[in-house]
Structure formats: structure tokens, C-alpha cells
């Protein structure tokens, strides 16, 4: 009986482990999950955006530079000085979204200027728009400052250990004076220990 019992138990365990694995298990993960790799991951971007936006909102120097008025900002794409492929535009887009929703800043967007001109030309030339209501060029707000920054990386490999350090740096520069009004950085460090087997 004993060998038969052991065989039955082993079969039951094997069946319970294997029988459920009929398809890849896919589930919605939360946005701030634990890291999977030493590379930049979505939760690192989200934390960086939150920190930069909070730092900019809290800084007294920005208000001093604009004499308490809501400054008009633009975005200059951040430079990627790391070895990773990272969508830097996405980071600045998220920072802009956070700052706009705080209602403390105003933004212009040079990347859509071509579309602005095309729409104004249509309004002026197609004859469909009431000329008194058509939007004419030369009246848009000008940016007073712009946000930019960079991402740098330092990697160390020793045996089975991989150590990666990243630094996001952002600056806010005043176009009128050329001064840097605000700057901050976010440091991220990840270590991975490759298993022996």
C-alpha cells in the first residue's frame, strides 16, 4: 500500500502543478511595482516626475523671478546621456501635465506650431470662417522660461553583481536674463545579483 500511496500522492501533486498551466498567466500589475531589472522602469519615471513637479511647485525662486505672476513655460527635450533608450519627451510631457494641473504655471508648445499655422491659414483662406472670428497670427503668448534636463548613467559590473546608477537633472531657465531659476535632480540606484544557476 505504501508505494501505491506515494505514487498517488506524487501524481496528484504533479497534476496540480502542471494542470493549471494551460495558458500564459497575464494580469494587470500596479504602476509602482517592485523592480524587475536594473534598467530604468516605469515606476522610476513616475517617481522622478512627481519629485520634479513638487520641487518646482515648492520653490520660492520661481515666484521671485516672475514677481508672483504665473510664468509661461516651454519644454526643451531632455538629453539622454545614458546607454538606454528612454523616451525623454514622455518625461517632460508628464512634468508639464503635473505643473499645468497645479494652476501655478502656463505653458506654450512649440512642437505644435506647424499645426497652429495650418489651422490659421485654413481659417483665413478657405472662406468657411467668419473673418471677424478667424484667429490671426502674431498674438500668441511668448514663453518666458523653459524646462530642460538630462539623464546620465553609471554602470559597474563585478562578477555576478550589476550596479547601475542613474541621475535625472532638470533645470528651469529664464529666457530674459539667461539665469537658471530652479534645478533639481533625482538619483536612482539599482543592484542585481545574478544567481549561480
Amino acid at each position: 500500500m505504501k508505494p501505491i500511496t506515494n505514487v498517488l500522492l506524487g501524481t496528484a501533486m504533479f497534476a496540480s502543478l502542471v494542470g493549471c498551466a494551460t495558458a500564459p498567466r497575464v494580469y494587470e500589475s500596479e504602476l509602482d511595482r517592485t523592480p524587475l531589472t536594473t534598467r530604468i522602469e516605469p515606476q522610476d519615471i513616475r517617481r522622478t516626475v512627481e519629485k520634479m513637479a513638487e520641487s518646482l511647485i515648492s520653490d520660492a525662486g520661481v515666484l521671485d523671478a516672475t514677481k508672483g505672476e504665473r510664468p509661461v513655460l516651454d519644454i526643451e527635450p531632455m538629453k539622454n546621456r545614458s546607454q538606454m533608450i528612454v523616451d525623454m519627451q514622455s518625461i517632460t510631457d508628464s512634468v508639464r501635465m503635473r505643473l499645468l494641473r497645479s494652476r501655478l504655471f502656463r505653458f506654450v508648445d512649440r512642437s505644435t506650431s506647424g499645426a497652429d499655422i495650418a489651422i490659421m491659414d485654413e481659417q483665413a483662406q478657405l472662406g468657411l470662417t467668419d473673418p471677424r472670428k478667424a484667429i490671426r497670427g502674431g498674438k500668441q503668448t511668448a514663453a518666458q522660461m523653459y524646462l530642460t534636463g538630462s539623464l546620465t548613467e553609471m554602470s559597474t559590473h563585478v562578477g555576478r553583481i550589476t550596479d547601475r546608477y542613474y541621475k535625472f537633472t532638470m533645470i528651469l531657465k529664464d529666457l530674459r536674463s539667461g539665469e537658471i531659476v530652479w534645478t533639481d535632480e533625482q538619483e536612482i540606484r539599482k543592484v542585481a545579483n545574478r544567481p549561480m544557476f
Partner: protein, 138 residues
């Protein structure tokens, strides 16, 4: 019989370990209008390892609320937790819920760390700190 007992022990141990992973943590709600704060602790293990020892608040130059929570480790070894600070308006609705992130926090033995958050809207009047164990974030 010995084999069966061993197998049962393995299954039970697995069940116990799986049950130890809980996402409940410690929450602190701070009302910036009244100055009052309330602490909710939903995880016994975290309650024995971490304490919220101080809550202070002020306003940044732009007029938005800022809050600081001091966390103190009650154990001698280092621990890894995650925390998030979210903001609510006067009606109790969370403001920009999707933009608030969990951030990692490494506490050395018996050390104190202050974490702070700034509201992202003038309508924010209540802040809430949530701390969870690192292993809960999957």
C-alpha cells in the same frame, strides 16, 4: 506515514508563507484645516517595526499645502518599505489619484526619516500617508 507527514508539513509551510504576504499597511490622515491627524494600522508586523512619530505641516510660497511625516524604525535591522502621500479636497475626493506614486524607503535600525509631500492643487485640504511593506508591491 513519515512521507505523508513530510508532505503535509511542506504544504502547510507553503500556505503559511503565502499568507504572510499582506498589502495592508499603516495610514496617517492629516487634516490641514483643523490640524488633526489620525493613524490607522492594518498590519501587525509593520506596527511592531515602524512608528509614525511626528506630523507637521505648512504652506509652500505658492500657497499650496505641504506635509511632513516622521517615520521611526522600532527594530534594530534595516527594513525596506514603500510610502505614498495622496491629497483630498474638502469633499473627501482624491485629487489626481493616478499621479501619486509609491516611493521606496530604506530605514536603518532604530533610525528616523522624514518624508514630505506637496499638494498639487489649492483645493487639497487633507493629506494621507500610506506605508506598506516592500514585498507587498508586486
Amino acid at each position: 506515514m513519515k512521507t505523508i507527514n513530510m508532505l503535509l508539513a511542506v504544504v502547510l509551510a507553503g500556505a503559511v508563507l503565502a499568507g504572510c504576504r499582506t498589502t495592508a499597511g499603516t495610514s496617517v490622515v492629516m487634516n490641514h484645516e483643523t490640524g488633526g491627524s489620525v493613524i490607522y494600522e492594518g498590519n501587525t508586523r509593520l506596527h511592531n517595526a515602524l512608528a509614525v512619530t511626528a506630523v507637521t505641516y505648512d504652506k509652500v510660497p505658492a500657497g499650496l499645502n505641504r506635509v511632513n511625516f516622521q517615520l521611526t524604525s522600532l527594530i534594530q535591522r534595516s527594513q525596506h518599505v514603500q510610502y505614498r502621500i495622496s491629497w483630498y479636497n474638502a469633499e473627501g475626493m482624491e485629487i489626481d489619484a493616478d499621479t501619486r506614486t509609491y516611493k521606496p524607503l530604506n530605514l536603518q535600525g532604530l533610525d528616523s526619516v522624514t518624508v514630505s509631500g506637496v499638494a498639487n492643487s489649492p483645493a487639497a485640504v487633507t493629506s494621507r500617508l500610506r506605508v506598506r511593506e516592500w514585498r507587498a508591491a508586486r
